[in-house]
């Protein structure tokens, strides 16, 4: 029941995001979209994913978008051409994706291939092998420690990239601006 309510709101928010021309409203709606997704993750028992979605999607990325809007202005330009071709491409891709889901195993099916590969071994041996109750942590930090190391490196690289492109001034910016005037 709560899934249906959340998904309905999610769809309504997505349509509103597409239809609005005021980018300030779009950014706020995108934040709401992330918060609703976080709610969906909670109903799926993925609380840690919900943490991330709420903090990054609804919090940090919204603030970054707002900071960008302060530079670009809040109105979206009216497109010159009618977006028929993108509409066709998106419709075909969406139809193909939905067609693809028909072959997928039923939701939460224990016989699904993904639950038969390494998951049973992790579930059976991680309490004695690793000895910590949270299996997600033992998979992320220990069994798949290599992948997580890669992720951290990616985040670090992203930070280096942003700093290389934008940079942070050492002096306080407002003071500089006041001096210029």
């Amino acid at each position: 029941m709560i899934d249906i309510v959340l998904l309905t709101f999610l769809a309504a928010t997505a349509i509103a995001v597409v239809r609005h021309r005021n980018l300030f409203a779009v950014v706020m709606l995108a934040g709401i979209y992330s918060l609703l997704s976080a709610g969906l993750f909670v109903t799926l028992d993925a609380v840690d994913v919900a943490f991330t979605e709420a903090a990054v999607g609804a919090g940090i990325s919204t603030v970054l978008f707002l900071a960008t809007l302060a530079l670009t202005g809040p109105r979206e330009a009216v497109p010159v051409r009618k977006p028929y071709l993108p509409m066709v491409v998106v419709s075909i891709t969406g139809a193909a994706l939905i067609w693809g889901t028909l072959d997928m195993p039923r939701f939460a099916d224990p016989q699904a291939p993904i639950h038969q590969h390494v998951a049973p071994r992790y579930i059976e041996t991680s309490p004695t092998e690793i000895g910590i109750p949270n299996m997600v942590t033992s998979v992320l930090a220990s069994y798949r420690g290599y992948d997580t190391f890669g992720e951290v490196t990616v985040i670090f690289t992203a930070g280096v990239g942003v700093l290389a492109l934008l940079g942070i001034r050492r002096k306080r910016s407002s003071k500089d601006a006041a001096e210029k005037e």
Partner: protein, 147 residues
């Protein structure tokens, strides 16, 4: 933008932020160090901590937040997080195991796993917090310079 408003215009926001920010930061630390038992871990803790500091910056001004956690400090700390992660892996190699092998870090082996996971998550949390804040500072400083 900020010059046209006096501090009083932000009073409600500032009072609410003052109440919320300590709990957000505390919750981030809880998610970080309780990640072995409850949901969460370094990445979640890092973004929650960064979100708390960003709320502080929005309520009290970018300058105050940047003097609290200056980019000069955050930059080496972001690198230190990756170093802690990689260093934990290399330490396992020096103690006779493979890269990122935690069993050799302590006895009994499960204590080694505990220690390894703790250190690795610490590295993740440190890097994520610092990188998120650095990106926010870089963006927000540009926005403040906007006409």
């Amino acid at each position: 933008m900020r010059q046209t408003h006096s501090d009083k215009d932000y009073q409600v926001l500032q009072v609410v932020a003052k109440l919320l920010v300590p709990y957000i930061l505390l919750f981030a630390l809880y998610v970080q160090f309780h990640g072995d038992f409850g949901p969460g871990g370094g990445f979640q803790a890092g973004v929650i901590f960064a979100a708390g500091v960003i709320l502080y910056a929005m309520a009290f001004g970018l300058d105050k937040a940047m003097s609290l956690l200056s980019p000069q400090v955050l930059r080496p700390l972001a690198a230190l997080g990756v170093l802690i992660y990689g260093g934990t892996g290399v330490a396992g190699m020096f103690l006779g195991g493979h890269f990122l092998d935690y069993y050799v870090l302590a006895t009994p082996p499960t204590a080694g796993q505990h220690l390894g996971i703790f250190l690795v998550e610490l590295g993740v949390g440190l890097t994520v917090t610092c990188v998120m804040l650095l990106i926010f500072f870089a963006f927000a400083q540009r926005a403040e310079q906007a006409p």
